[in-house]
Amino acid sequence: MSKVVGIDVGGTFTDLMLVDEASGKVQVTKVPTTPENQAFGVINALEATKVPLSELASIVHGTTATTNALLERKISKVGLITTKGFRDVLELGRRTRPNAYGMTGTFRPLIPRDLRMEVDERIDADGGVVTPLDEKAVTEAAKVLMAKGCEALVIHFFNAYINTAHEDRAVEVAAKVWPNAYITSGTSVLPQFREYERGVTAAVNASIRPVLDRYIKRLREELASRGYTHDLLVMQGNGGTVSSSIVADLAAHTVLSGPASGVKAAAYTSSIAGFPNVVTYDMGGTSTDVALIRDGVPQVTAEFELEYAMPVHVPMVDIHTIGSGGGSLAYIDEAGILQVGPQSAGAKPGPICYGRGGQRPTITDANLVLGRLNAKKLLAVDSPVSVEGVAGIIEKEIGSKLGMSAVEAASAIVRIANDKMAGALRMVSLSRGQDPRDFALFAFGGAGPLHAVALARELAIPKVLVPVRPGITSALGCIVADVRHDYVRTVNKPVAVADVKQAGEILKAQREEGRRTIESENIPIEEIVYIHAADMQFQGQSHVLTVPLAGPEVTREGLQEAFEKVYFSRFEVRLPEIRAMLVNLRTAAIGKRKMVSLKALVDTAAHGKTLKDAHTETRKVWFDGGWHDTPVYFRDRLPAKAKFPGPAIIEQLDTTTIVEPDNTVEMDDYGNLIVTVPHRQGA
């Protein structure tokens, strides 16, 4: 009984990884995702392992069910009961437009106007009652919304973050008539100020809660009927897991579940490999996800926006999406300048080389022409297109307009794409107060390892790490993720006058709540650790900085000092004359699950004895303005502790790793490829 399973449901494939801790064996399966009900794909993936479910000790599931439901608006009908005068807050937003330039675009609120009701009640900014709650009106509003067919209900009151009494009472009152448990109060999901962000986060939660609840219930039943006797765990966006028995209550926490598990796996893998600080770089077909990991811990944010004007402000792994992927289109703009993306050829028609009718050059096509991708092994090719054919289109669409050959044009496309991704990656790290040079680059996703060393060179990042199985990182993330619950409470007082004793008590109470929740989930864990932090700012600012706290005991001086240190490292400014504010207190309670050995991921039996055993061919690859005879290796056959200089191409089923001429690559004990990238000025 030591078999653990991680299952990640992606857009195209459902990936499963099974680790047998006793024998050290790992099994991987990949089946098509079943979009209409992801549970079928999950079951198919499990059946493909041929291991009886009764033998499994745990199943951890990463899902895109809630994210997709939101993006496609396949959500439950939700009603809102709110403070009189404020029913349109969710539609009016914060006075914005979708783009800085251009006065067009559309916005659709999650809860339409006819399902938003108001009741008499009002609490002021100090928590005092201005207008008492009209309980009868709450009952009436709930009945009206039920009659209109609402399945879920949001109760969101103005200023409730400072005093939840009215909101709590309204939930009790509504629960008496509401036919199910799907009632979400604003502060139960996000007990923080900002009425729009709190309201939308609650609406997000309510609109996916029934969807997730039904999905998980069905899946639990399916699993049980097949003999699975343990709890199903679900990945949350914060990179931790939660018992499926309570996951739906805070469904908003599962937004970004899939990408978060990828980052979690990256944190785990890179820490073991000796790189606790990494930038994750997950490049797929249409976009690229980037996140920061410090000291082995994925950085978490509470300011995520899923799409225009849809903030989901619960703690989530701080993943930033860049609009560059293998399918990004290259074109010459009206000024005659080569541009790459953000428009993408998508899955259909896709890149030219996929043979699905694509006629416009993409990054993937350029990589093919440069010899970086293996024409013979291209995945997902419907009707093959020759390299010459692709080159011809690149020459016609790009080269001829710039006075370049096809190869030069392809090289230019890759260069521009890398340049843009590097810029975006820099902005991501800088906006989080970090210098990318202090990190290693962790490359995964189908296209990440193709571009990683070039990006590293651009950003002066010295090392690139490519894990054993870059294509199924998220499934691994499910296996290695800990149980995690996050808590936040708004204080919003100057440090000089804040009640630090009370602050300590808040943190201790959050710890206690975390401990109780984890214990109630009954998931086998080894220990519980707590991470404390304070959101702080200088009085009068509107952005906050999250300052790590060593423990729940806080002192005035300690807070002030920690904040000033973090502030200076971020902005290089000291502001001694301005008061520091303690805005929020945060605690993450983490139930550490048993470590899984990564060595199991490597199939040592397949290893070659020498590098020659892994060598499959030598082909011409374009680097630095010329063709280089470049050896191509099959990754699984690389010998243990292999170490060799570039140029080289390392191919495996789910990705291709590029090693440039002045790089050195070595395989560590865990099977990771570590590429050393010298910093070249003026490259």
């Binding site: 009016l92 437009r97 103005f158 703009d333 000024a335």
Partner: protein, 579 residues
């Protein structure tokens, strides 16, 4: 020489220059104190030419109005700067020297590369206050610039990296909220030094000559691209008009007469028949007037890059003798926030006649500035609260207008009301969508906002600088105008006070229990209302956007007021009869 740059380097340097500006923007915004900068992004950072101040690059998310103005401001600094040294920073807010209003304070830092002046880095940030008659600077009754606040010509505030504490003391002694502004000064200057580091790295990597050649080439290419866009507009002369409610002093509309002549990829803009200079603060300085035209074109063609070349094919005749070319000492506080938006609107409605498939009806087009300055007896302190409200955008060629969009010349978010209530002794009683305010059309305008705020304690003075109160934002292609702006002040025991100038007033005494009611404009409609899909009208009624009566009258659609079903036959009849 520009021929020699390879296309890859050109694209890389284009991105690199923007990246330098983006990093300055981010540093400024994240560390600023003024909520107008940190929440409302009322700031911009850029790189400017050493000889003439021309725009070389600007960040992706700089405030639109500053994209054009800062090059004029830089040119004025270059004319005046003496003995420029590395580490110097000039401060200026003089509107007549390439500025906007006094609250937009500009910092300029010469950038030296290997000991030689190469270009200027500059930024603008909207300060909370720069002195003057009313807190926040938007005095609706100012009749000269001195009443609007402290005016700084270009002055060297930082000398070789050392702040001139005496100059700083003068500035700080003449403004309200000096403490917090001190933080903004640091943030604003720090952003420029971050820019210096990044630009140095770029120059080191590619070499001075390559960067120089690329900048020239990028300018040429941007001009080429803008010419291509303008060439897509049929040659000819076109006219349009927009009007401001009044100047706040004399209760008459101020008209902008827009004449646009398109000829072979060049665009000639003539506004010289607009109203003469006005007594109140609704004059526009020339930098702002020009910039407004550029913004309008960038909104119409959002994909053109931003540098001096972009503006090259746009020829604006100096509107001498009009309120769009303000000279000292004309008051100008409304120019960036309001006049610029009317200029944009005049461009929009003029070109909507010619290239309707690229355009949209007029947006609310006002920054909706309400300032409340008073004393909070419980906290024993003075305060200044601003609300900048949004309004409806115009319907466009493929959809309805957005509700509660930000100003045309800004990209700013509003402050959360919960934050306002924390800081100021007020209570919001309502914040709602303004029903019926979207101008009808095939694609209707977006809706404005109603808000009602009560003073909870102490005494205060209320000031308003808004617009579009006399007439709503214009519809195009047969669409109707959006609902006009409305303001009302309700004081205990007095009749409701409606602003005589519709949208502008200042120094209105309010006290505990009094309420201020504001309804912001809806957007104009696009196309004929009777061509709107009846099902869409039915949905609008079910959402309460319009009443069933309005649906019949304004859209010619018969909607059941109870179940919101559309009666197709009755609709046909309505539309036939009224058409």
């Amino acid at each position: 020489m520009s021929k020699n740059i390879d296309p890859v380097t050109l694209a890389v340097i284009q991105n690199g220059l923007i990246q330098v500006c983006n990093e300055m923007d981010m540093a400024f915004e994240r560390s600023a104190f003024s909520p107008v900068i940190s929440e409302a992004y009322d700031r911009s950072d850029g790189i400017y030419h050493r000889d003439n101040g021309e725009l070389i690059a600007q960040g992706d998310l700089g405030l639109p109005i500053f994209m054009g103005t800062m090059q004029y401001g830089t040119a004025e600094v270059i004319k005046r700067a003496k003995n420029v040294k590395p580490g110097d920073v000039y401060i200026a807010n003089d509107p007549y020297l390439g500025g906007t209003h006094l609250m937009d304070v500009r910092f300029y830092r010469p950038f030296f590369y290997k000991g030689e002046l190469y270009c200027w880095l500059a930024n603008t940030g909207h300060w909370r206050d720069t002195g003057g008659a009313v807190p926040g600077g938007f005095s609706a009754h100012a009749t000269d610039v001195e009443m609007e606040g402290l005016r700084l010509p270009p002055v060297k505030l930082i000398k070789e990296g050392v702040v001139d504490e005496e100059i700083l003391a003068i500035v700080m002694s003449n403004i309200r909220t000096a403490n917090e502004t001190l933080g903004d000064v640091r943030a604003q200057a720090a952003a420029l030094s971050i820019g210096e580091k990044r630009l140095t790295a770029l120059m080191d990597r590619y070499g001075r000559d390559t960067v120089e050649n690329s900048i020239d080439e990028l300018k040429r290419r941007a001009a080429q691209q803008m010419r291509a866009k303008i060439a897509g507009i049929p040659d000819g002369s076109y006219e349009g008009e927009s009007a401001l409610d009044s100047d706040g002093i004399v209760n008459e509309p101020l008209r902008i007469k827009m004449k646009i002549r398109i000829e072979g990829g060049e665009m000639h803009v003539d506004m010289s028949e607009s109203s003469p200079p006005c007594m109140g603060p609704l004059n526009s300085v020339i930098a702002t007037t020009r910039s407004a035209v550029f913004i309008a074109m960038k909104h119409i063609f959002p994909d053109v890059p931003l540098n001096a070349g972009t503006f090259e094919p746009i020829h604006i005749t100096d509107p001498e003798g009009t309120f769009l070319y303000a000279k000292y000492p004309r008051p100008v506080s409304g120019c960036a926030a309001e006049v610029s938006q009317r200029i944009c609107e005049a461009v929009f409605v003029t070109l909507a006649k010619v290239i309707p498939d690229k355009l949209f009806a007029a947006p609310a087009g006002t920054s909706g500035n309400f300032a409340l300055g008073g004393f909070d007896p419980v906290r024993n302190r003075n305060y200044v609260m601003y609300i900048f409200s949004g309004g409806g955008y115009g319907g466009w060629h493929d959809g309805d207008g957005i509700s509660n969009g930000c100003s045309t010349i800004g990209i700013s978010k509003t402050q959360p009301l919960e934050v306002m209530e924390q800081f100021y002794p007020v209570l919001f009683e309502e914040y709602s969508l303004r029903e019926g305010s979207g101008g009808e059309g095939k694609y209707r305008g977006g809706f404005g906002v109603n808000y009602r705020v009560k003073i909870r304690r102490g005494r205060a003075l209320a000031s308003f600088v808004m617009d579009h109160g006399r007439v709503g934002p214009a519809g195009v292609q047969g669409g109707a105008d959006g609902g006009p702006n409305r303001i009302m002040v309700r004081r205990t025991g007095e009749p409701d006070y409606i602003l005589p100038h519709f949208s502008k007033d200042q120094g209105l005494h309010v006290t505990e229990g009094d309420t201020v009611h504001v309804s912001t404009p809806g957007g104009g409609g696009y196309g004929k209302a009777f061509e709107r899909d009846p099902a869409a009208v039915g949905r609008d009624v079910s959402f309460g956007y319009y009443t069933a009566e309005e649906a019949a009258k304004r859209f010619g659609v018969a909607v059941d007021s109870k179940n919101f079903a559309v009666d197709a036959k009755a609709t046909q009849e309505l539309r036939r009869r009224t058409a």
